[in-house]
Symmetry: C2
Subunit: 350 residues, 2 copies
Amino acid sequence: MDVPVVYQIALDVMGGDNAPVATLEGALAALEAHSDLFLHLVGDEARLRPLMRQLGFKGELEARCAVVHAASVVGMDDKATSILKEKKDSSIRVAAQLVREGRADGVVSMGHTGAAMVASKLVLGSLDGVDRPCLAAILPNMHGRPTVLLDVGANIDCRPEHLAQFAVMGSIYAEEVLGIVKPRVGVLSVGEEEGKGSAIVKEAANALRDMDLNFLGNAEGRDIWNGKFDVITCDGFVGNALLKSAEALAEGLIEGLRGVFHENLFTKLGAVFSRPALKRFAKKLDYAEYGGAPLLGVKGISIIGHGRSNSRAVHSAIRAALVACEHRVNDHIQETLGRLMSQAGSQEPS
Amino acid sequence: MDVPVVYQIALDVMGGDNAPVATLEGALAALEAHSDLFLHLVGDEARLRPLMRQLGFKGELEARCAVVHAASVVGMDDKATSILKEKKDSSIRVAAQLVREGRADGVVSMGHTGAAMVASKLVLGSLDGVDRPCLAAILPNMHGRPTVLLDVGANIDCRPEHLAQFAVMGSIYAEEVLGIVKPRVGVLSVGEEEGKGSAIVKEAANALRDMDLNFLGNAEGRDIWNGKFDVITCDGFVGNALLKSAEALAEGLIEGLRGVFHENLFTKLGAVFSRPALKRFAKKLDYAEYGGAPLLGVKGISIIGHGRSNSRAVHSAIRAALVACEHRVNDHIQETLGRLMSQAGSQEPS
């Protein structure tokens, strides 16, 4: 009899605004949906055990998870680097440690984004050939499909070769985890014409053009949303500003519309008639569907979810980590990056 | 009897997707609303004359405008720099020339943004003490008030002192033209804590902290929309990406919602009940209210409107130019910049 392959994911159960209830609910849903999943539930054991019983962890599902105790949590007011000193025993640090020790294949956290990045970068370390791990946002575009924007905050100042590496890693993630065939790759600039943009962007475009990628050239800010590209690479400063701006703008617009529907009896009636269609529309744009931002280029899989994740987003994040393991994303990254970078390198004037 | 002060604005009547009808309608509305306005209508005279008669330019209103002939228009496929060579006789170039020759105080165009920028920067030239003119986007925030984001595309690579100058110019524009008392100024970064961000941003923040401005420190992408800041300075690469992303995202969301309301009979009924409230909401976010992006730091006033401007947006753009003249924005910029930059300079170690 074949021994079934099982992937082990360490979940930071204590991280996130709705933790530990939403994280445990998401964990349970993921265990139900994926029979090749084993979860390490990292957090305050005394608190988690009774909650798990209450939420219905039992039988075969319970057998596919283990509780790993962590004494503290990184709070929103803590520094990201606190995991290196005073919060060495925090749930995110302990979860990352499991990956480092080879006891888990990946780590998933909805907690402090900075701390999760530091834990993944420093505890796990970079893959061979990766100069800089980067954070990829999976954004729903207007066709209801995902666009990968990266880096969104792991690297402030980037050199051209970093932008090129981000593009390669993003393309592999888009293909393997999001199921996009031959992802269309662009580099963010201020105009679509070749030669527009900063010196760094132009050099990155040149490097990408020489690579065996489906590189379409320059992308603009609008292309994040219109589905013209599947992967857009940029430095972490721009990506972070774009992500935070988009989140706030979309939320503000939706909040404003909600206000509109509560104005008076007529608009409330309007809302009743429109509700199912509005829900379908909102679902098309729902971040929870994609489950979080992968930190690409580290040894092991790392998915960092939004602090406000609900149980569905937690489930999606765990699924993303699992699919990344199943599709051996890191092997692909290491292999492809080695090949492409040596390609690009060999074309430089000697 | 006092001779009334009159401000002269050169309008590129041929620029914009809806030109020349929308530009002429906007011009007429502006002439009606502002008795201290004289307009130079720059464009194809043979085409404009009959159209003006048709639209009702007559009597006192007609007396407050002059048609200035321009033989060509910069098309969307032309290069921005075409105004320097093959399109020297274009409406935007001729309009800018009127300002340079002292025949007009400001220029307004809804045409090719790049060409309008080049015309303003090269034909008008920079104000004394301004290293780099910059383009300011006036964005409606969630409180229905404007937030000034600058630079949004005039300068790709910026040094710290450029970011500081943008902030000063934006603050003056916000105060004088948008009527915001003691504008709250921020520098765009990846976190609100002091010390977060690139070396350039940190240096810019230090310079701004030393100035006599209402400087609050670092702003994040989300702060463009939440009304925490009135003015946010950034380099033109980031600003351009942010602006184009936000435009596409907002349009996509609104387009998607429109689709929702057309799905079936119930949702159409929903739309009927909600229409007045939706209109009020849309008006709160309407770019047309602010009329365009000022190019700050050039000799003379320059307002660059959106290509898709309707007549109301044209009117708003002309009004913005007029108010900038009335409030002597450029005198303030020159005076303040001279004072603040020498302040900042004098605090450097000798």
